[in-house]
């Protein structure tokens, strides 16, 4: 694949001329991303009849803009009311929501918007320039390597357990057990479904997500007057535009953090089958591991919010690379985009950039322009969005429950899923009341089935030889990196303790 740099300038100007498609698509994406159960993929499916009659260029720009902004949209309710719109935003409320409770919701939204837009923009540029190289990632990241990547995310349970070992591990294992419900990936034998057909596909993510986070939160906030803490309530009325500016400054001052985590997202996005949920947990875990203040994570730490938001937007550009270069969609939205492109008679794969370079590069150009418009159009709205946190819980809690239960229903249109959302809400409520961390349960539910899929595949490929886990060079490097993530914090802690001891001894000596 040869680069045609001369196309970039005219393409940029050409794409900018489609602002009338991009801006409405951004707002639509923001809305569907923010509503649990909706996503870019099912919105594109719903709007497929319109997309198919559109000119291919307009259709593509519409889909790309919707895809990018829905990712950002999913973070808004996660930050403001502890409802992640999609599994990709599941790590966002870990630090985003405590910021809101402390009256820093506007600041948190601004940080999330900046991290999402700049992370997305940066990875789009990287993807554009390093497309052939990145397309190679799929050739090396196989089942064994993916097992280790999953373990990076799952090891977050261990970090959570560090605060209360027993409760953290119990919650994590409960999540993993719930995640193993459904049919096995090899012979499709149902396990733990209790005879419910609705569980054959495994525990659906959205009811688990909204139940554990949002419904349980709604049950909790009923007991209070506001979702804001006392300090937050005192601070909220006086918050002005300066909070948005402050959020932007905090995020931009951590530009390296945005870059690093969005690249994690980009690389995970390139791997067919991997997605934003993996990327956001891996990014959060990495960010925490190499932070100088890991103890602040989970309490409203800016880096804990920036990492998953930058990563899940990095995934967006990543999933399109295998789609455009190999013709293999990297995720659900990319798969739907493939249908549209096939309908329009566009052949994806290596020949796309030879036969139709304007379209191939145009996808990434549309993405870059979308991120540019996103920051301009969405950032000023942070101040107004935050007002939802001022609503009394008398009104807010029922709204959260109603919206999230509808969200549980939407993806599969099963009444069963609404009951499941409620059941997870009760589990989450009990967990919170008794000091168990719902995030640890959720990590197990989200990453457990993926880990099992790759693990069983690797074992089947090796005829049951467990040593297959150490059979690849790249896999072994990743194993070392995984061990390092356990050892480095322990080493840092050891050093800190020693310095502390020395400083204590110094005056005496």
């Amino acid at each position: 694949m040869e680069f045609q740099f001369q196309l970039f300038g005219p393409l940029l100007i050409h794409t900018l001329s489609y602002w009338w498609v991009i801006i409405p698509s951004i707002f639509l994406g923001l809305i569907v991303g923010a509503i649990p159960g909706f996503s870019a993929a099912n919105t594109i499916i719903i709007l497929l009849p319109f997309t198919l009659v559109m000119d291919i260029e307009v259709g593509l720009i519409f889909m790309v803009a919707l895809y990018c902004s829905s990712r950002m949209g999913a973070g808004i309710p996660a930050i403001l009311v502890n409802i992640p719109g999609t599994a990709g935003a599941a790590a966002t409320p870990l630090d985003g929501y405590p910021m809101t409770q402390a009256g820093r919701g506007q600041q948190a939204l601004a940080m999330s918007f900046v991290a999402s837009s700049f992370g997305g923009l940066m990875t789009t540029i990287i993807a554009l320039l390093a497309m052939p190289l990145l397309a190679q990632v799929g050739y090396y990241m196989h089942s064994v390597e993916m097992i280790v990547v999953m373990l990076f995310g799952i090891s977050l349970i261990a970090s959570i357990a560090a605060r209360d070992t027993h409760k953290g591990l119990i919650a994590g294992f409960l999540g993993l057990m719930i995640g193993s419900i459904g049919t096995d990936v090899v012979y499709a034998t149902p396990r733990g479904t209790l005879g419910f057909l609705e569980l054959y596909d495994g525990v659906p993510l959205i009811p688990a997500l909204v139940g554990l986070f949002a419904v349980s939160e709604a049950f909790l906030v009923i007991e209070q007057k506001s979702i804001l803490s006392k300090k937050g309530l005192d601070a909220a009325p006086s918050v002005g535009w300066s909070a948005t500016l402050e959020g932007c400054t905090i995020a931009l001052s951590r530009w390296w953090h945005i870059t690093w985590n969005s690249i994690i997202g980009l690389i995970i996005g390139v791997i067919p089958g991997a997605g934003a949920s993996i990327a956001s947990f891996v990014a959060y875990q990495q960010s925490r591991t190499y932070s100088k203040t890991p103890e602040l994570y989970g309490t409203g730490h800016p880096e804990g919010l920036i990492a998953p938001e930058a990563a899940n937007n990095g995934v967006t550009s990543g999933t399109l690379i295998p789609l455009l270069i190999l013709g293999i969609p990297g995720g659900a939205t990319a798969a739907v985009m493939l249908v549209v492109m096939q309908y329009q008679g566009v052949t994806l794969g290596p020949t796309l950039f030879q036969l139709n370079p304007e379209l191939g590069y145009g996808v990434f150009m549309a993405m870059a322009v979308t991120y540019f418009f996103m920051i301009l159009t969405i950032l000023p709205l942070a101040r107004f969005m935050t007002r939802v946190t001022m609503v009394s819980t008398v009104y807010l809690a029922p709204c959260i429950i109603a919206f999230t239960l509808i969200g549980s229903f939407v993806p599969r249109v099963y009444m069963f899923d609404m009951w499941l959302g409620l059941a997870f809400g009760i589990i989450g409520y009990i967990a919170r009341k008794t000091g168990y961390h719902v995030a640890a349960i959720l990590i197990g539910v989200i990453l457990g089935p993926l880990l099992e899929t790759y693990f069983l595949r690797a074992l089947k490929m090796s005829d049951g030889d467990i040593m297959v886990l150490f059979s690849s060079n790249l896999g072994n490097v990743l194993w070392l990196a995984l061990f390092a993530t356990f050892l480095v914090p322990a080493g840092i802690q050891f050093k800190k303790n020693r310095r502390l001891d020395e400083s204590r001894e110094a005056p005496n000596g």
Binding site: G138, Y200, L326, I328, P329, A335, V339, T347, P350, R457
Partner: protein, 341 residues
């Protein structure tokens, strides 16, 4: 002169009988069958695979023309879980048998599911009535694979067990590769990758030594892959499938064509209850194939016109019987159960 309105006894009896008849029909459960036009509302279609695959493409292309004959839209719902098993259980257990609910299945793999493990519903409670296409299975490698021909694969398979990506264990193409192993003595290890896209990715990225899949999906993958064997009587796509030989020609086997046939299915109860509705569905179904708009849409969506193969209840029944028979032969290998001695 005006006509007299005085009722006679005969007139009265006629009017009373007519009124009673109208009232009886209006109040009877057959009302809709007699009076209503079919279809009055959109038709729901359950699809046992994910969005974006070959079945989805065929469904959308076919229904984009079929809807013009029925004057309603089709609303697909995707239930890919447990190799399509969930879709059938949902269809049979939760959808009304009223001809407004159809299933668009991939007959081959889904009938093999029942061979491996029986569903909870009676297998005779539904039937396929509209076959759209028949797509033969094939063996293919990634463009960067060291294997160039099927002979390279067989030779390597005699030295070590090769990992073979497949969409699902119970798939006609999986049977094809097992038959090849049986014929040549090469060893193959089937790895289910959940769906056509993943199966192509398995071969392209080199995680699998090679993959097996329906050839239409493989042809759609273009230059990223290279086809080396077809499980059919003839390579109908020629150069688009790299002029790969057929199994029977190359190895002298007498294997029946191992096809995936995409077809519309319906509750048998719906046919019994609403025969007139079913007739409308059948008649309009066949009209689609004669409509030039269908061919245009199919080709535009990069479908392989050579595989379009209209079939009714009879053809579907024959296909079902054949695939079930061959499935029974390889049941132990497909289900992972030990072979009975």
């Amino acid at each position: 002169m005006s006509k007299t309105l005085k009722p006679t006894r005969r007139k009265f009896i006629k009017a009373a009988v007519a009124t009673a008849g109208v009232a009886a029909i209006a109040g009877s459960p057959f009302k809709s069958a007699f009076a209503a036009k079919f279809p009055e509302r959109n038709i729901n279609v359950i699809v046992p695979t994910r969005e974006g695959g070959g079945a989805d493409r065929n469904l959308r292309t076919f229904t984009s023309v079929w809807k013009n004959y029925l004057n309603v839209n089709f609303e697909p719902g995707y239930f890919p879980g447990a190799s399509g098993r969930v879709a059938y259980e949902v269809y049979m257990g939760k959808r009304e048998p009223d001809c407004y609910n159809l299933i668009f299945g991939n007959m081959g793999p889904e009938l093999l599911n029942w061979v491996v493990k029986k569903p909870t519903f009676d297998l005779n409670a539904y039937l396929y009535f509209g076959q759209v296409d028949t797509d033969p299975g094939c063996v293919f490698v990634g463009a960067k694979s060291k294997f160039k021909t099927i002979d390279d694969i067989v030779a390597a398979g005699k030295k070590r067990k090769l990992n073979v990506g497949t969409s699902r264990m119970a798939h006609p193409a999986s049977i094809g590769i097992l038959a090849l192993g049986e014929k040549t003595g090469a060893q193959f290890n089937l790895i289910p990758l959940s769906g056509g896209k993943n199966t192509v990715a398995g071969a392209v990225t080199g995680e699998m030594d090679f993959s097996v899949l329906t050839s239409g999906s493989v042809a759609a993958a273009g230059k990223a892959v290279r086809t080396v064997l077809i499980f059919d009587d003839k390579n109908k796509l020629g150069a688009r499938l790299n002029n790969a030989p057929t199994m029977n020609d190359h190895f002298g086997t007498k294997l029946p064509p191992l096809l995936s046939a995409r077809a519309f299915g319906i509750h048998r109860a719906a046919i019994d209850k609403y025969p007139d509705r079913f007739k409308v569905l059948q008649d309009t179904f066949f009209k689609v194939f004669k409509d030039p708009a269908f061919k245009m849409a199919y080709l535009k969506a990069k479908g392989d016109w050579e595989y379009v193969n209209p079939g009714g209840v009879k053809e579907c029944e024959k296909y079902s019987k054949d695939i079930a028979e061959i499935g029974e032969r390889y049941k132990s290998l497909l289900s992972g159960a030990p072979k009975k001695k």
